[in-house]
């Protein structure tokens, strides 16, 4: 078990490595790069641009810049080109300029140790800004996923049990319809009906903006704010999960143990739910990885429409304002969460399914 877990984690390392390269390359290749994003405006003089570039260490070779971003520069003790940014990868303190004192190390810790640098736009630590927004995204994501599972699973089971019946047909049509509805349009229409016409629900936000300090009250104190965004996200989950569950249940229903249970004379509901549904739910464990990417992608749109102060909206804003440290941090955190999700689902799958053995 532990061996299997370790192997899966080791297998994930090349993927993580690929993601850091990809995300670094994007910033490096962007037209104008970070300097263009920092010194926005036509009137910025050339010498100031050069000073910004030097401050970011952009005159160093690419691999040094990548290493500095990935691992930090607090262990780098050598500034070879005099741009005041350490670039010599030496673990020992060296006296380069010969004044008898070792040069000071850099102050970046690198993304490996959770230092994502400072936001270009807000001039604040990216790590703490993300920390402030994670809870809002998790709240929305977890609520909608929970609703999606609690509604989607029984719907899928019923559709499979009554295959080709009216319930199956209706849920099949609804699943295709909700897959095809653009979620931003659904969101806008809900805001139009419930926020603008009926004035029954707030048009956006996480809680009353008049609550100035101390943050939002707990979830149950502001369900009105959660309702619409959760509905938008949960319908998608119900559509996907009910189809998935139906297919899985149909697969289980053709198994020998189901026929045995029926022929023993057990009641239909006992067979369907005790023998069938429990086995059919096993493949749901493989859903965790894709669910995390889906949640984050969905959050980007839903949070933007409903002005929900979470990671998705933060990322969309950062992309528009070319705030590269934020964009890269969100990509890396999202990717780590996804890979973690995939590993977790593999392990869970192996744990729940008695047919899988580790040796």
């Amino acid at each position: 078990m532990i061996k299997y877990t370790l192997r899966r984690i080791i297998q994930a390392i090349p993927t993580l490595f690929g993601i850091t390269i990809f995300s670094f390359a994007l910033m490096y290749l962007a037209p104008g790069g970070p300097v263009a994003a920092l010194t926005f405006g036509p009137n910025v003089p050339q010498y100031q641009k050069e000073r910004e570039a030097a401050k970011l260490g952009l005159n160093d070779p690419v691999y040094i810049q990548y290493l500095r971003w990935l691992l930090g520069d607090d262990w780098m003790r050598w500034d070879s080109d005099g741009d005041k940014v350490a670039d010599g990868a030496f673990l020992l303190a060296l006296d380069v300029n010969g004044d008898g004192e070792p040069e000071p190390p850099g102050d970046r810790y690198g993304i490996v140790r959770g230092d994502f640098g400072k936001s270009f736009f807000y001039k604040r630590e990216v790590g703490s800004m993300i920390g402030e927004r994670v809870a809002a995204t998790l709240e929305l994501g977890a609520t909608s996923l929970f609703l999606g599972i609690t509604i989607g699973t029984p719907v899928g089971i019923l559709a499979a049990v009554r295959k080709k019946g009216w319930f199956d047909s209706i849920t099949r049509i609804l699943a295709v319809v909700f897959n095809a509805i653009p979620i931003f349009w659904l969101g806008l229409i809900l805001i139009l009906i419930f926020g603008s016409w009926l004035r029954a629900l707030p048009m956006g936000g996480r809680c009353d903006p008049l609550i100035l300090s101390g943050g939002c009250p707990p979830m149950w104190g502001r369900i009105e704010y959660l309702l619409l965004p959760t509905f938008v996200l949960a319908t998608g989950w119900v559509a996907v999960l009910s189809r998935y569950m139906r297919a899985s249940m149909l697969d289980v229903m053709s198994q020998d143990y189901m026929r045995t249970a029926h022929s023993k004379g057990l009641a239909g509901t006992v067979v369907w739910f005790k023998h069938g549904a429990r086995n059919a739910a096993i493949p749901l464990a493989t859903f965790i990885g894709p669910a995390i990417t889906g949640l984050l992608s969905g959050a980007a749109i839903t949070e933007t429409i409903f002005s929900w102060p979470g990671l998705g909206r933060f990322a969309v804003g950062a992309v528009t304002s070319q705030d590269y440290p934020v964009v890269m941090a969100v990509v890396i955190i999202g990717a780590v969460a996804t890979i973690g999700g995939y590993i977790l689902s593999d392990i869970l799958y192996a744990l729940i399914d008695p047919r899988i053995r580790f040796n």
Partner: protein, 302 residues
């Protein structure tokens, strides 16, 4: 009397005998009303966008770009602005149809690109296996670990958005799913007898891959294409809605909706109509894809 009995005996056999999978699929499709309606709707939408747009603009003398400060927020049913006007007094119907040209072309071309890349890579990885397979699987695992919309947003922000770059982005980032599908199919196809006999008579690997294996993937490819076009139209709309896809003044269904966001109370039709177009188009494509899957299903019984 005797002939009737004989015919009854032969009829059910003839249903499958001597008919290829494609012939069976066509005959199944011709009886599937829902799929035919979806197909008809798609043809209608294409005709409206590519033929209807210029015709309607010239007949009603409306233009998708001409602004008119005196005729803003006209409701649906005005003349000559049948679907009303937007915040700048531009005609909604002609904007909608020209936007359809953009959204449909981006969807079709990008899906074609994604499917071509996916099929090629899928056949190669499935057929050769080994290090090529590992390498491409690594790329797929990496791309799939980044939330897809974030990935698209970032690439769209780095490259300057235009219909062409959007096609390239959506095409080059959308091939992972079909690659996996085709790889799996190829893994089983390469063990078939006709592949083994082709190899025995000395056919090259490329010949086997593209002459013997590819034709057997046609149904997989057609289904993937229909579903991918729908998915890509949705994604393009989402990107344009967030301001990183098709940029104004070029109309697209996504950026029309994004523009309408600010005029909730003044022009409800501006919110409803573009979204409805996306919804209907994607719905028809999904229904068509599902119908094709059922029609091409070799295990299905009539």
């Amino acid at each position: 009397m005797a002939t009737t009995v004989a015919r009854l005996d032969v009829e059910p056999k003839k249903k499958y005998e001597g008919r290829s999978l494609t012939q069976l699929a066509v005959s199944r499709l011709s009886r599937d009303t829902l799929t035919l309606i979806a197909l008809g709707m798609i043809v209608l939408l294409l005709l409206l966008a590519f033929v209807g747009a210029p015709v309607i603009s010239s007949v009603l003398d409306v233009s998708p770009t001409r602004t008119n400060a005196n005729q803003t927020f006209l409701p649906v049913g005005s003349y000559p602005h049948i679907l009303g006007t937007d915040d700048l007094g531009r005609d909604v119907l002609s904007r909608l149809l020209y936007a359809g040209q953009v959204s449909l072309s981006v969807g079709v071309i990008a899906a074609g690109l994604a499917v071509s890349i996916g099929v090629t890579l899928g056949i190669i990885t499935g057929y050769f296996g080994g290090i090529v397979d590992d390498l491409i699987n690594w790329v797929i695992a990496t791309l799939n670990s980044i939330p897809s919309l974030f990935l698209l947003l970032i690439v769209a922000a780095v490259l300057r958005p235009s219909p062409t770059t959007l096609i390239i982005i959506l095409g080059f980032l959308g091939w992972t799913g079909i690659t996996r599908l085709v790889r799996g199919e190829t893994l089983s196809l390469r063990e078939r007898e006709y592949v083994i006999s082709a190899r025995a008579v000395g056919a090259s690997s490329w010949r086997i891959m593209f002459v013997h294996i590819l034709p057997n993937l046609v149904s997989v490819i057609i289904i993937a294409l229909a579903l991918d076009i729908g998915g890509i139209i949705l994604t393009e709309a989402a990107l344009s809605f967030l301001g990183l896809g098709i940029l104004p003044p070029t109309p697209s269904w996504g950026n029309m909706l994004s523009n309408a966001q600010g005029f909730f109370t003044k022009g409800v039709h501006l919110v409803i109509i573009p979204g409805l177009m996306i919804f209907v188009t994607v719905l028809c494509l999904y229904v068509l894809g599902d119908g094709l899957r059922d029609a091409f299903d070799p295990t299905a019984k009539d």
